[in-house]
Amino acid sequence: MRRSGELERAIMDALWEAREPRTAKEVLATLTEEKLAHTTVITVLDRLTRKGLARRERVGRSWRYAPAASRESYVSSLMIDALGRATDREAVLVHFAHSMSGSEADALRSALATADDTDGADDADEGGQSGEAGQGRHRA
């Protein structure tokens, strides 16, 4: 049995690959490499939903699960955390040094909208600063 973190990861991967909402049973069927209980998969899916990483909808008698956002937008939101310039974040992450080139900045900027949605209100005051990050910067 893998650690719960790895299981969450495997299940999120399955949801991302599916491209459409899946039931717990369907998710279980894609996780071929292990013997998992159906209830374990449901527990993990519920946990992911609670964390806001997955969302679910009732279809007939069963719940169908889908990722709350694309894998790319999550990567972008982590990179924005890493490259943004918000003072309060300083204790959250400690940077070595970082930088961004023009094209990378464009990619991040287009991903910003998604990240802002998932970040919610607590980052509203930092929106402008994240926006600046999109224009390219580096800092030690």
Partner: protein, 299 residues
């Protein structure tokens, strides 16, 4: 009244010391000692502010803070209105500091947990780089996420522009941050930010302390890795930014930091004398001993 005056003088001294110390160059030769001095200044300031607010309480009988507080508890009627007001103000200050510290810790912990949850889902491991989470993204980023379940993260963009020896130096630098818990050092300063959000003196202090922490991590890294590898890694991060558009306002200080770090790695200054370091430690100890003695001693 002499207690009050002493505390007031200490507060003025501490605040006045911030800018010169933040702009000093000698600190770069001894980051560890300089950080101890910063810590002493911070603690002295906190204690003196508390002492100043409480001192009206013990001014009449010229007692120390602790005897004064004890009297307030044992004989409340014997304390005059000014004394009670002072006790209230002092209590409020201590409460405000504690509450902002707890709030800062909580906000930080929440943001880290969120970041870590996502990281666990989308980063990957590389057998060649044990303990490092790799993020598939073309932008160059290397950072660490402090805390109980700490991690070091490097983007594929950064890996692409660094040689293996550079990567090992970057990882050693980040490990130094994590092992020495540099994030805890910044917490009290960031908590002050909530009480004085617009203070430029505080911004200078935070900037200076952050740069010293980077230099301390650089020094720790150089004990096991070559300083040239680390300097090269830093330079590659800054060269990558050469393609950037004009830097935005308030950006120059950070540039200076990167340049200063690279310069001191490339041409290390001669080892500073132990006497100088000792003198700074003595200064720090004296500074801190003053409010502490005022707390217990009657005048």
């Amino acid at each position: 009244m002499s207690h009050l005056l002493h505390f007031a003088v200490l507060i003025v001294c501490c605040v006045a010391a911030v800018r010169p110390l933040a702009r000093a160059h000698w600190v770069q030769r001894m980051p560890r000692t300089a950080l101890a001095l910063w810590q002493a200044i911070g603690l002295t300031l906190e204690l003196s502010l508390t002492g100043l607010l409480f001192s009206a309480l013990f001014a009449p009988a010229n007692q120390g803070l602790l005897p004064g507080l004890a009297r307030l508890v044992t004989d409340p009627a014997g304390t005059d209105l000014v004394g009670r007001l002072a006790a209230t103000l002092g209590g409020l200050f201590v409460a405000a500091r504690l509450i902002t510290l707890v709030m800062t810790c909580a906000t930080t912990a929440r943001a880290r947990r969120k970041h870590r949850d996502l990281l666990r889902l989308i980063s990957r491991a590389d057998p060649a780089l044990p303990g490092v989470a790799i993020l598939d993204h073309p932008a160059a980023a290397a950072y660490c996420l402090p805390g109980r379940d700490s991690s070091i993260v490097i983007s594929t963009g950064a890996l692409g522009m660094l040689k293996p020896a550079h990567v090992r130096a970057v990882v050693a630098h980040e490990q130094a941050h994590l092992r020495q818990r540099h994030d805890l050092f910044l917490l009290p300063l960031l908590a002050w930010r909530r009480l004085t959000p617009r203070s430029t003196t505080l911004s200078e202090a935070i900037g200076a302390v952050r740069l010293l922490l980077e230099m301390l991590a650089d020094d720790t890294c150089c004990r096991t890795r070559s300083r040239h590898d680390l300097a090269d890694a830093l330079a590659r991060f800054s060269r990558d930014s050469g393609q950037l558009t004009t830097p935005l306002g308030g950006f120059a200080a950070a540039d200076t930091g990167l340049a200063a770090r690279t310069a001191r790695l490339r041409a290390p200054a001669p080892a500073h004398s132990a006497a100088r370091s000792l003198a700074v430690f003595a200064l720090a100890a004296t500074l801190l001993a003053t409010p502490l003695s005022l707390f217990v001693l009657p005048m």
